[in-house]
């Protein structure tokens, strides 16, 4: 039995994560400004596409307002939750040997990463509240809101679960640094691919049917795309429940993979620079 209760260790790490996130509030502001430009670009692009087809045009089941809301809400979510940072940090710590210091601590590394990321997401969500409110107000004539209470609830839960999936995928990608020494190229290749698979570039329905069926099974589609589907009211209660089940499945599966990778990886770890 350790000397300090476990929950106090969690609290300590989380508070470190919070002050860490707050220390970079300046770059958060810059992040808002720079993320606005691609958002505006997507909104204008889609408006132009729908304009050419007439007001009643529906693309892959999306009306214009649904499409615009897809990008607006996604952008707000991305403002708060950037757990993908984990894959860069884990890789870097494994490669540089900075992991040595952390291994000496009586606390699981992956759990520590989780605490840090969740703290950052919490702070990010708070900081994103005001810009999100402004964005929703400016876009109030086009924004689609969930029609019923269960949709709000399911959206909130699926967003939280989606963040866990993102985190676990990032951890797995990051831990692959145990096997591949030179991973920066790999990460740069994987990251845009993850963006597409998660539906961050466009709603996944836009791809041809068979491909869509495959993409819909992969974990990435449950990070961003699925919560947005729930938000836009494009799934029934039954489908939402199934989706949440799939999210739970992926969380369990990825947590298992991450744990396995962590154990196997540590055996290979050479503690460079230690």
């Amino acid at each position: 039995m350790s000397l300090v209760p476990r929950w106090r260790v969690h609290l300590k790490v989380i508070s470190v994560g919070i002050s860490d996130a707050l220390a970079y509030r300046g770059s958060f502001l810059l992040g808002i400004v720079t993320s606005l430009i691609p958002l505006i670009t997507s909104l204008l692009l889609w408006s132009a596409i729908y304009r050419a087809g007439g007001t009643g045009l529906v693309i892959a089941g999306f009306s214009l307002n649904q499409m615009l809301s897809y990008y607006l809400v996604m952008n707000v979510l991305r403002l708060a939750g950037t757990v993908e940072d984990a894959q860069w940090e884990v890789t870097q710590q494994v490669r540089s040997g900075a992991l040595n210091n952390i291994l000496l601590r009586p606390f699981n590394y992956v759990v520590m990463q989780w605490d840090l990321r969740m703290a950052a997401v919490g702070v990010g969500a708070l900081l994103a509240l005001l810009p999100a409110a402004i964005l929703f107000f400016v876009a109030r004539s086009v924004i689609v809101l969930p029609a019923s209470g269960w949709q709000w609830g399911a959206f909130a839960v699926s967003t939280l679960l989606g963040i866990q999936i993102s985190f676990l995928v990032s951890i797995c990608v990051g831990l692959s640094a145990f096997w591949f020494l030179e991973t920066s190229g790999f990460l740069m290749t994987v990251f845009p691919l993850q963006m597409i698979l998660s539906g961050a570039l466009f709603p996944l329905e836009l791809v041809p049917g068979k491909l869509f069926a495959v993409l819909g099974l992969l974990p990435w589609s449950y990070t961003t795309y699925f919560p947005l589907q729930v938000y836009l009211g494009r799934v029934t209660l039954m489908q939402a429940a199934q989706g949440l089940g799939m999210q739970a499945f992926w969380i369990a599966a990825l947590a298992g993979v991450a744990a396995l990778m962590w154990r196997r990886g540590l055996r290979r770890y050479e503690a460079v620079g230690g």
Partner: protein
């Protein structure tokens, strides 16, 4: 002018020799850096699975535009970006001294000392892709169209350079300056078909924040859709900003304190 060009050729050769020592990287670099380009093409491919045109642009015209944006930024990255990002540090550490001492135009040396070959495979890919688009467009190939395209590609690179150079020159006053990343984000607007923008915004992007001049103009020139007046504006603006950047740099140098030397 000839002297500057020959020095530039020498500098580029010098960088190429250094780069070739790490030759194995070349293929990896192409694979890793062309992803955003591939993603962009893929996105439009998906959209064109549902519509026939975007604001009057057909699929291969939009692809052509994506290729042009990629190529123009690739040329800029190859010759300038590495140098310009170093300028704030050069001012802070006093490294600028070495550049001032050389018997050649300081702005030139500061802007073009290092060439970055990471963007070269990408730029070539951009050219090949544009060639493929032109074939797919079945547009009659004409030398004047190609010539005006090349003129406006170079004009775009020069204009973007002038804007970026003026921005980094501001770091003589403001040490921590994020202008470059904001400008880079803004080029995202220039990569879109100009007609998607509401008229007012299109006006701003042509005459105030001229992102459309940089990337849209070359493609429009090739397709014969660039009004003469707009073309002249684009060329004139570049010339004016290049002159201004040169004056502004010399003005800013008077503030240079040669710190820590």
């Amino acid at each position: 002018m000839m002297r500057i060009l020959s020095i530039w050729a020498g500098l580029v050769k010098n960088c190429l020799v250094r780069e070739m020592m790490f030759r194995a990287n070349f293929a990896v670099i192409l694979l890793t850096t062309s992803w955003w380009f591939v993603m962009n093409v893929l996105m439009f491919q998906v959209i064109f699975g549902h519509v026939n045109e975007i604001a009057g642009w057909s699929k291969y015209e939009v692809f052509f535009l994506v290729g042009a944006g990629h190529t123009i930024m690739g040329i800029f990255e190859t010759f300038f970006i590495m140098n310009l990002t170093r300028v704030p540090d050069m001012i802070r550490t006093g490294e600028m001294d070495f550049y001032l001492l050389k018997p050649v135009n300081t702005q030139f040396l500061v802007s073009a000392r290092y060439a970055d070959f990471e963007a070269v495979p990408n730029t070539l890919l951009g050219f090949a892709f544009m060639g493929w688009c032109v074939i797919k467009l079945r547009a009659a190939f004409s030398l004047p169209a190609l010539a005006s395209f090349i003129v406006f590609v170079l004009n775009g690179v020069a204009l973007y350079y002038a804007i970026m150079f003026i921005s980094v020159t501001l770091s003589f006053w403001f040490m921590r300056f994020h202008a470059m990343s904001v400008w880079w984000q803004l080029t995202g607007l220039g990569r879109q078909p100009a007609e998607i923008f509401p008229p007012k915004l299109k006006f701003v992007l042509t005459y105030c924040i001229p992102m459309l001049v940089i990337i849209n103009f070359p493609v429009k020139a090739y397709l014969g859709r660039l009004p003469l007046a707009a073309g002249l504006w684009g060329l004139g603006l570049t010339a004016a900003l290049l002159f201004f950047s040169s004056w502004f740099f010399r003005f800013a140098l008077r503030r240079y304190r040669s710190a820590s030397s």
